[in-house]
Amino acid sequence: MAQLALKDVTKRFGDVVAVNRINLEVEKGECFSFLGPSGCGKTTTLRMIAGFEDLDEGELSVEGKVFSSSYTRYYLPPEDRDFGMVFQAFAVWPHLNVYRNVSFPLEIRKLPKREIHERVTRALSYTGLSSKEHVFPKQLSGGEQQRIALARAIAINPKVMLLDEPLSNLDPKLREEMRFEIKDLQRKFDLTIIFVTHDQSEAMALSDRMLVMRDGVVQQVDSPLGIYENPVNDFVFSFIGLSNFVPVDIRGGEAFAKGAASAGPLHAAPEGAEGERRLACRPSEIDLLPAGAAEGVKARIERMTYLGDMVDYLASIGEHRVRIQKPRRAGSLAAGTECRLRLNRARWFDA
């Protein structure tokens, strides 16, 4: 039985279909991300799961029990769902100290004093806030405030933990640190997590599985590596990382960059393909070869940028531009150098 199941879930705002027939099952102990550009419907979906929005169509169930359903017109209010939630703007209560922020949901549940104390202490120690029990949120940094929100959500042993862009308000260094912390907490408490973000590396680093969404429609559901390696369409491909698209003509089983056939073939074409296509590849999937090499397409380095461990190139094939990124250890080519490029991998999309 899935911990969380969405069946044909749909939400409309006036004429706009914000979320269009989502079907999804999330297992217990799974960390699942919703990834997509802003306005794609990921937050709306999360708010429907939380119960802050009712759904227009479909059914949502947790541990096999229906929480919202358009068929039976049933709706369980958020306060009865036993979920934990963490918001982008922290939403810690400024008039309560750290301890009281975390104990509040437990007091609402009328748990015995001793148990409240035990649970709060445990949640605070796991989030590294033990020494800050009596401090008020105003005196804490953004990262610490978000830890309070995490502790508050964990303390109730939530059926599902909902995280709505929880790291977006933090600076980059802290963001990296906290995503590992969230992952650790998930393991320690065996949490089922729904994580909403627009940051692909955050989603990849955290999730067991993730979905990519656009205009209210789910594009792909898979493991992070599955999505990175085998994107179902050009949107997913370009959203998930830096990408090159080159329009190509296919002739005799080989793909030539449009208008730059003299530079040589870019890559072998997929079997049986003819005509115009778009070839896509990642900057890291291109190798730089010397101009005199026997293979590869002729190109010229237009720009070389030193990024530390990596070196970034902009190369031109005819009038097409491609980005290439290689480790510094592989050596570097200066701007203006003629060279050849070998594409180790190609994905094909319609022109």
Binding site: A50, P78, A89, A91, W93, P94, H95, F104, K138
Partner: protein, 564 residues
Amino acid sequence: METLRNKRKFGTAELLLTFSVLVLVVIVAVPVLLIIGTAFFEEGRLNLAAIAKVLGDPDTYMALWNSVKIATGTTIVSTAIGVFFAWLVARTDLPFKRTMKALFLVPFMLPSFIGALAWKILLSPRAGYISKLLMGMFGLEKCPIDIMSIGGIIMVESMYLFPFVFLQVAGALERMDPTLEESARISGARLMTITRKITLPLVMPSILAGALLVALYSLAHFGVPAILGAEKGIYNIPTKIYERIHSSGGSMAGIKVGTILSTILVVTAAIILKLQDVVLKKGQFQIIAGKSMRPTVLKLRGLKVPMLVVCIVYLAVTVVMPTVTIMLVGGLKTYGLPLALKNLSLDNYVQLFRMKLTTDAIWNSLWLSVSAAFVTMLAGTMISYVIVKMKVPGKFLLQFLGVLPFSLPGTVIALGCILTWSGRFGVNLYNSAWIIFVAYIARYMAFSIKSNSAALEQVSDSLEEASRACGATHFQTLKNIVLPLVRPGMISAFFLIFLPALRELTTSVLLYGPKSRTLGVAIYALNEDGETVMAAALATIALLIIFIGETTIRKVLNRLQRQE
């Protein structure tokens, strides 16, 4: 390499600083110092005996006590009304919320002394229209409600002061980050618990800030207690000061008592402001949302219509009824006649425009409010710039003088002006309209500084620095960048001053001369002389002017806003 010589010159910055200091010293510092000096010293020597005598006088003692009672009562009642309506408008699904919100600010437009006049006409124990109705209906000897009492004063003041609380609280409730309540909900709390444990504590600072504003205003308020209380011997400090100075014919002895009472007022006001500062500093929570989302709204269900009716009835009773009463009474042939069509005419209005007293008053109020607003706006912009943007030594003094007028009640400012501008420094403006002009500048400077400072703080330093880096001098930068950017703040300062100045009573009632009555003074004087009908007629004209003023201003401001 060329060497660098240090050119020390008197630049734009120094000029601004000098002028700002000059204005604040002349307008604010000197009058205040003179009041304190007069209160504490006699012929150059500290004279505490006089102070003890004034304070020991049961007459002044009673005034003090009344002030405390009225301010406390008004604060409590206004806060209760303000919080209730704010919650209704911001957090329930009350129908026509936007309209209702706008309507709840209308009591701000109505000058409270005109409101008091209307209520006196309606509810004075023997002659009030409603009193007579009630007595007739129930065959009573005495009306059950006596508006001319401390309770009545509290009631009338609250009617017109509650918007202070309403505005603050509705704003806080609307801007509050909805996730603060949502996270309580997902934690398992129900609406009542959330309201009690989360929402209320979070808006408490706003409630207190609004309440303290009401307290400050009520403490220094002249109009309502003067109209409803003085006749019955109920005085608060401002009316007592007026009474003393008036009964002594403006003699030094009366003024001396006035300065001692003023000092008490200033000290109390300063304490209230300090309290407010503490409340705001300690309790102001960062509850404002980054992105706007709809807050959780309580569904009123069956109470939807009854609540709307409550709002409408409240506004009808506190706004419509008094306004209509004033207008009708203003048309009566003789005071006391029933309000029937046959007893009404426009004769009073015709007569009003024949009287020098009233045409003078209208003209005086108009030019005084326009010119004082304009001058105060300009001076306030300059002073705010120095306070907010410039790094100069001695700025703290400017800051202090700039906020000081906040704690100066209108009565105190009037007294200070009498002491300063009656020839002591070679300038005698007494009995001329110019003394009112100067007093208005002092009284409203704080408004101007507040509005302009807010606008200036929005102008990031880098906008000015970018201009300097582009080759513009300090003066060019002020002209090309700063002034255009603070224009909205300046315009709003102008109107923040113009409107209250138009209906001002507290200050001008102590300063007017034979030819320099203001609208407020004229209405008040007519009422004092028992010319209730004429007072009502003039009040009607005042309301008309205010109404026209407000609507044009709103139109102008809206157009400006659309342009920005």
